[in-house]
Structure formats: structure tokens, C-alpha cells
């Protein structure tokens, strides 16, 4: 028979004022299987805990129930006390006599009766409890960071600086991301590349960072602390160990008219190219889609130019395997192109640009060396119109959310324009100005007041071309809905920030969830913003939702701390509240029939297929097995299981049925 110890707490007067605690301990003391029952003023105090510890030894207890406050409050306290006295901590349960009884009912017989019932329930449960050991998972102390924008750079540096190895992969030939494309940054107007490129170099030179550019994740298997990543190293066609980065090949390449991705299509590049002058690594790759040799089988001018023989025509994609313990997703975002907007000319008008294209025009390293010139004729625009919320906050366009950065960068663009074109006239059409952030509102005020940017609150219905001018037809809602028509030389659309293309496929590879707009979903909107629902995979930057640079850097450092915390121990210790599939002696092996309903229910992909093989290696049966590293203990699989073969430790069917039966069997 069980020997359960029951300890009823007065909680000062919090419980004892409405519950007759002496009657509770007396009646419970008479229950079958209860060896010892007392009540005391403060069970959680030192003397209170000592009562428990002494009773465990004196009565050789095999279970403890503490009737006190909510287990969400003190369960760890009492479980620790039990563990210290030599009792398995998972043989201790709490009955919630305070939050669920004494605080919500008046002093009465019924209240005490309910308290007795609550304790009885847990006594019956604890009789069925089994000693459990916390789960220990080994941790590979090496992180994989996916994406080499500012988020990935910051996360990599922060993790590497804690002394752990980092593998950083970037799909483009250079790290730097969108931040390297920006001209100046708000709210300080400091040059983006000036603050970014030192960090890019630091990444390349850091002894703890292994950088793979032109590389993509092929697959990720495993679980927290123990991932196996397969990485595709796309063929660069250039041997980086011998290439000196002299750039002679780039100058001689005859294919010169390829729209440059770095310049957002405003400039051109060659087929063998370095995306931008400060690229890291500053060595070229061959774009095989556009290269004459790969297209037509003849050219090879770069090979003749190369002094060190670095061109590798037959190089193939290579798949490498890396073991990592944690993953940081920092794949960033994209912006909608002008072609998304029929009302603004479907991208047909050359002088209707996106915000990102305007960044390149304003950038000293851009196609116009920082002069604002029209792509159509190279003239300096004297009248410019900025349209905020192009696509964002527009449910009709399928983008109901605010892209967050556009208000600020539009103010910055207008300012930069005014600084560069002194006699120019700039107008901003906006819905609302959202300038939440340190010195942000002041920045927008500066654009309006010092740089005399004309802000019009209203939307633009149409942009069309007439006599070489762009006619912008909008409305001024602050003037009672008056129609406004502006003859502009250039129109800049603050197009919506959207999830990077391929983010859905990447999310599926990693088994992380994503929102309807394909941004990766955080584990909790407030309290777990950098975690995903898949343990060991963290988020940094705009892959989670559009955000600006300071926020991205903050989030990346947050993700890095989470990784560092994970790596601070050799083993990961977890509560053993996980699902387990029963195993029996042969010839039954398990009651599991292998229907894998549990697999369909599991949100964490924790169900594995276990093959039971005979001595000759022949397959006898395939049954489910729970990966304890992945299982989070929700128990959805338990309710799904038709043969009752899977159960969740700490909330087993036996335990919960015992609770229900105790309530009603009187």
C-alpha cells in the first residue's frame, strides 16, 4: 500500500481563514494509503519544508501532496524539498487550495469539503505517479546562422564572441544583405556602408566563424542540441583559394548588360562579378545563367585574363554536412516591386521607383554616384513625389500589416533629396506617420520643418505619364478630401516589406511555423519573440516581421544570447513531461499498431518511426517512438492514440482517471 504524506498549508491566513485546515488534514489522514497528514502555517518556509523532508525519511513516504497555493507558484519549491530528502521529485504533487478554493469561496462547510476533494484528487493521482528522471540531451556547441544580412552578421559575431563556433551561410556571393544597399540610415543619416562594412570584415576574419557564401541550406535533421545540416555550396566557378580578387576578369567580361541585383536593377553588372566594391569575400562568382560560355560554349575570356588560373568551369555544386546544436534564422525580407501596382503603372514607367531603388540612386556607390537622376533620361528631377504605404496596410492587396520602416525611410529619402537638389520640391503622400522610436518623431519633424518637405495626408489613386511628366492624382484628406494633382519628374513608392521568396520552403525544411504572409512565427508574441516553436531554432531580424536596423540588431543579439545559454551546458536538462510509447516483451513489442495518427497530431515532429527487427535483420514491425529532445509534452498524441499505446509522463491516463474517479466516488 502507498505511503503518502499530506501537508496542508495555512498560508498565514490566506487558506485557513476560509478553509478548516485541521478538518482537511484530519479527514485526509484517514484516507487509505495516507501515512502522514499535518497542517502548518507556512509550508513553503524553511521549517515547513523541513517538516516535509523529515516526514519523507521518518515515514518512508513514497508520495507527497502539498495542499497550498497554485502549483504554478511553488511546485518547484516542494519538488526540490522532496528531492533533497531523497524522494523522486516527480512523486510530489500540489493541490491548489488557495487560488482555486480559499480565495474564491466564502468560509463555509462547502469550501472545506471542496478543499478535501481537491487534496483527495491529488492523493489518488500521486498514488499512480512514477519516479521520473529529468531528460538529458547532449549539446553540440556550434551554431548555424542562415542569412548574412545585418541580423545574421550580428548574431554570428555575438555567438562567436562567446567562444563558440559559428557557421554562417549566405545565398548571395557576398554578405551584407539589404543594409549594404542603403545610402544613409535614419534617424542619424550616417552612411550605411560605413557602419556595416567593418562588421562584414570582422565576420570574415573571426577565428570562430566559418563563412559560406553562395550557399543554401539543403536540409536540417535532428533536434535541439543535435542538428545535422546539409549545406549546398553553389558552384562559384572560381577557386577562392587561389583567386586574389584582382578583378581583371570582371573588366574583360563581354557580357555587361545584366541588371545588377545590388543596384535594384538600376545599374548593370557582368556575368563574372562581385556584387559591390566592398563585398565580403571580395572575389567574383560566375553567373552561369548569363555567362556566354555556359550559354553557348564559347568565350572563356576571363580564363585567359586570370593570371592565377582560378576559373573552374566544371565545378559542381557541393553538399557538405555540418553538426550544429542551434540554428539562427536571419533570412531577412524583400520589398514588393513597382510592377505590383497597376495604379502606379505596373512598373512600366521608368521614373516610378521603389524605395530600395531610390536608396541606390542616393548612394555614393550607386549607379549615379549619389546624384539623384531620372533613370529615363538622366535629368535631375525638380519635382518628386513619395508615396508611403504602397501596398502596406491595404487588405485589398493582401498586405494588411504595416511595414514599419517606410514612414521613416520616406522621410529620410525626402531629406536626402532636398539635401542633394536644393531647388527641388518634394511631396509625401501618407496615411499616418508612424515614427515610434528613439529620435524618430524628431527626425520626421525635421524633414517637414527644416527641409520643407510637403506632407499631404491622403492616398494616391493613380500615376500616369503625360508629356514626359508623371501625373500624380491624389487626395488631401486634411483639406476635406480635396483632389490634388502634381506633375512630378519622379515618383518613389515606399513598397511593402514582404517575406523573402522561398521562406515558406525554408520554414518547411526547418519545421518552423510561419504566418499567413510567410514571415516566420515566433514562439510567443510577447515573451518568446526570438524563439520558434521548434526548440533550438531562433529568429533574428526581418524574417519574423518587417523591422528596422536597431530592432534587428537587438533581436539578433537576443537570439545569440539564447544560443549562448543553450551552449553554456554540456547537456540540456528538461522536465520529463514527455510522451512515451509503451514497449513490451516479445512477441508483442508494443501495443502500438503503427497507424501514426500521433505523427499527424504532433506539432513538433517528435514522432519517429522505429523499426523492430528480428535477429536475422528482417523487419517485424514499425512502431512510433517519441524523440524526447523534440517533444514538448502537450499530449495531443495521447488523445489521438486509438490503441492507448502512447502516454504522457506526469499526466498519464492512469493518473487523470484516478483523479476523476476520486472526485465522484463518494
Amino acid at each position: 500500500m502507498s505511503k503518502i504524506g499530506v501537508f496542508i498549508c495555512h498560508c498565514g491566513e490566506n487558506i485557513s481563514a476560509t478553509v478548516d485546515v485541521e478538518r482537511v488534514s484530519k479527514e485526509i489522514g484517514g484516507m487509505e494509503g495516507v501515512a502522514h497528514a499535518i497542517d502548518y502555517k507556512y509550508m513553503c518556509s524553511d521549517p515547513g519544508q523541513t517538516f516535509i523532508k523529515e516526514a519523507v525519511k521518518k515515514y518512508d513516504l513514497d508520495g507527497v501532496v502539498v495542499g497550498a497555493c497554485s502549483p504554478r507558484m511553488h511546485e518547484p519549491t516542494f519538488r526540490r524539498a522532496c528531492a533533497e530528502s531523497g524522494l523522486n521529485p516527480y512523486l510530489c504533487e500540489m493541490a491548489n487550495l488557495r487560488e482555486h478554493c480559499s480565495w474564491v469561496h466564502e468560509k463555509s462547510e462547502e469550501t472545506t469539503d471542496k478543499a478535501i476533494d481537491l487534496v483527495k484528487m491529488l492523493v489518488e493521482k500521486v498514488k499512480k505517479n512514477k519516479p521520473l528522471d529529468s531528460i538529458k540531451v547532449p549539446v553540440t556547441k556550434r551554431a548555424l546562422v542562415i542569412g548574412g544580412g545585418i541580423a545574421g552578421i550580428q548574431a554570428s559575431l555575438d555567438i562567436a564572441n562567446t567562444g563558440h563556433q559559428v557557421i554562417l551561410i549566405e545565398k548571395d556571393p557576398s554578405i551584407g544583405g539589404h543594409m549594404s544597399q542603403l545610402s544613409e540610415t535614419f534617424p542619424t543619416l550616417d552612411c550605411s556602408q560605413c557602419i556595416l562594412t567593418p562588421r562584414m570584415v570582422e565576420v570574415a576574419q573571426h577565428p570562430n566563424i566559418k563563412l559560406y557564401t553562395y550557399a543554401e541550406l539543403e536540409s536540417l535533421e535532428g533536434f535541439i542540441g543535435n542538428f545535422t545540416a546539409k549545406i549546398r555550396l553553389k558552384a562559384k566557378s572560381v577557386n577562392y583559394s587561389t583567386c586574389t580578387g584582382c578583378g581583371a576578369c570582371i573588366q574583360k567580361c563581354p557580357v555587361k548588360k545584366i541588371p545588377s541585383e545590388f543596384n535594384a536593377g538600376l545599374g548593370t553588372r557582368t556575368a563574372i562579378y562581385v556584387p559591390f566594391p566592398q563585398a565580403v569575400p571580395n572575389k567574383p562568382v560566375i553567373d552561369r545563367v548569363n555567362c556566354n560560355y555556359y550559354k553557348r560554349g564559347a568565350c572563356k575570356i576571363c580564363e585567359k585574363t586570370c593570371q592565377v588560373g582560378s576559373i573552374e568551369w566544371d565545378k559542381e555544386d557541393e553538399i557538405i554536412t555540418e553538426q550544429v546544436g542551434a540554428v539562427v534564422l536571419a533570412t531577412g525580407f524583400d520589398v514588393k516591386g513597382a510592377d505590383f501596382f497597376p495604379e502606379y503603372g505596373y512598373g512600366k514607367f521608368k521614373d516610378v521607383l521603389t524605395g530600395l531603388q531610390f536608396e541606390r540612386l542616393a548612394s555614393a556607390s550607386g549607379p549615379t554616384f549619389g546624384e539623384i537622376r531620372r533613370p529615363s533620361d538622366g535629368a535631375i528631377p525638380k519635382k518628386i513625389v513619395f508615396i508611403a504605404c504602397a501596398g502596406s496596410r491595404d487588405p485589398a492587396k493582401g498586405i494588411p500589416y504595416c511595414s514599419k520602416i517606410c514612414c521613416m525611410y520616406t522621410a529620410k529619402h525626402a531629406m536626402l533629396y532636398q539635401h542633394k537638389v536644393h531647388d527641388g520640391e518634394s511631396t509625401v503622400f501618407y496615411m499616418d506617420i508612424r515614427a515610434g522610436g528613439k529620435n524618430y518623431e524628431e527626425f520626421v519633424r525635421r524633414a517637414i520643418e527644416e527641409d520643407t518637405v510637403n506632407y499631404i495626408r491622403g492616398r494616391v489613386a493613380r500615376v500616369y505619364e503625360k508629356n514626359g511628366k508623371l501625373i500624380v492624382k491624389g487626395v488631401d484628406t486634411l483639406l476635406g478630401g480635396e483632389q490634388v494633382e502634381i506633375e512630378a519628374d519622379m515618383v518613389v513608392l515606399a513598397t511593402a516589406g514582404v517575406a523573402n521568396c522561398g521562406s515558406e520552403q525554408l520554414a518547411q525544411k526547418l519545421h518552423v511555423s510561419y504566418d499567413p504572409y510567410h514571415f516566420f512565427a515566433e514562439a510567443h508574441p510577447k515573451l518568446k519573440p526570438v524563439e520558434t516553436n521548434t526548440a533550438g531554432i531562433f529568429l533574428a531580424g526581418a524574417c519574423q516581421a518587417p523591422k528596422d536596423i536597431p530592432e534587428t540588431v537587438g533581436m539578433a543579439s537576443g537570439a545569440a544570447v539564447k544560443v549562448a545559454a543553450l551552449f553554456s551546458n554540456d547537456q540540456l536538462v528538461r522536465e520529463p513531461v514527455v510522451a512515451v510509447v509503451n514497449r513490451l516483451a516479445p512477441p508483442l513489442y508494443s501495443t502500438c499498431v503503427g497507424c501514426f495518427m500521433c505523427e499527424t497530431a504532433c506539432p513538433y515532429n517528435a514522432i519517429e518511426h522505429e523499426e523492430i527487427k528480428g535477429r536475422d535483420g528482417s523487419l517485424i514491425r514499425t512502431i512510433a517512438r517519441v524523440n524526447q529532445g523534440l517533444c514538448q509534452g502537450c499530449g495531443t498524441c495521447v488523445a489521438f492514440c486509438r490503441s492507448k499505446s502512447i502516454d504522457i509522463q506526469g499526466y498519464t491516463n492512469e493518473q487523470v482517471y484516478a483523479e476523476v474517479m476520486s472526485l465522484l466516488n463518494d
Binding site: S70, P71, R72, N96, R98, E99, H100, C101, W103, V104, H105, E106, S108, E109, E110, T111, D113, K114, D117, L118, M121, S513, N533, V577, A601, P603, Y604, Q632, G633, C634, G635, T636, V638, A639, F640, I648, G650, Y651, N653, V656, Y657, E659, V660, M661, L663, L664, N665
Partner: protein, 154 residues
């Protein structure tokens, strides 16, 4: 308050640890009062709740059952509450077909911030079940089956 003339129903609540259990804790910390009839069984998630437990409860003499967890999209485990909801929709139809009085099962969402909603849910359920009276039909069927009615002998 209680008298012999008022029927005090026995009600079991199956709730998830993260939302409704915490919500009921908040009811306590807010010192909101409610009826003593409901006793909570804690689960990690509503997705864990085996609905056969509901039948077991009735067979054992419960007059009513509450199932409550996180609001849709708020599940601590992403989707457990959706599974529970889907299961409940199917189960409710089956119970109704079987002749179980589904008014005796209250299915609800109570978040960790909705202490007052929990108090209301308990009080409303108690008064509704009280109006329905003791749930003896299920017990009668069970007794009938035990006497061999299933074989057509009774």
C-alpha cells in the same frame, strides 16, 4: 447558503495548464467569488484531453463537465486547442446521437488574463446544470446494461 432543497451539481472541469488553469489562478488572486461545485483537473493542453474522460465522468455520477483551454491561436503548443476543438465538434455530434444531453458539457476558452470570465463560466454552468437537475439518465443506462439489457434479456 446551502439548503436541502437546492440541488448542488457535481461538475468537473478539464482545463489546460497554460491558459485556463492560470486564468482560474487569476480569479483567485483577484478574489472573485464563485460556486464551490466545480473541481479542476489540470492537463498540459486541451489537446491532451481524452474525451472518453467526459463519458467516464458521467458514468461516475458527474452532473456536468467543463472543458476549457487557450483561445484559438493562443495555444502554448501551437495547435493542441485546435485538435481539441475539432474533436469536440465530432464528439458532440456523436454524443447527441447517442442521447447524451450535450447541454451538460460546457466548452469554452478562458485565457490566463480572464479571471472574471472563469468565475462567470463556473457560475453560469452551475446555475444551468442546477436547472437541468441531477444527471441520472446516464447512470440508468449504465445500470440497465449491467443488468444484461444489452443482450436483450431485460
Amino acid at each position: 447558503m446551502s439548503s436541502n432543497t437546492v440541488f448542488e451539481p457535481k461538475i468537473i472541469a478539464f482545463v489546460c495548464n497554460w491558459c485556463t488553469y492560470a486564468g482560474a489562478d487569476l480569479t483567485g488572486t483577484s478574489r472573485l467569488k464563485y460556486a464551490t461545485n466545480v473541481k479542476i483537473v489540470r492537463f498540459p493542453c486541451t489537446g491532451r484531453i481524452d474525451f472518453l474522460l467526459l463519458l467516464k465522468s458521467f458514468a461516475q455520477g458527474a452532473d456536468g463537465v467543463i472543458v476549457s483551454g487557450c483561445h484559438p491561436n493562443d495555444c502554448h503548443y501551437t495547435s493542441g486547442n485546435f485538435h481539441a476543438r475539432r474533436r469536440w465538434i465530432a464528439f458532440r455530434a456523436i454524443l447527441d446521437l447517442m442521447g447524451v444531453d450535450i447541454r451538460r458539457i460546457q466548452y469554452s476558452w478562458v485565457s490566463a488574463a480572464e479571471g472574471s470570465k472563469w468565475a462567470d463560466l463556473v457560475n453560469n454552468t452551475v446555475s444551468e446544470i442546477r436547472a437541468l437537475g441531477p444527471y441520472t439518465e446516464y447512470q440508468q443506462v449504465a445500470d440497465y446494461l449491467e443488468k444484461g439489457g444489452y443482450n436483450g434479456e431485460a
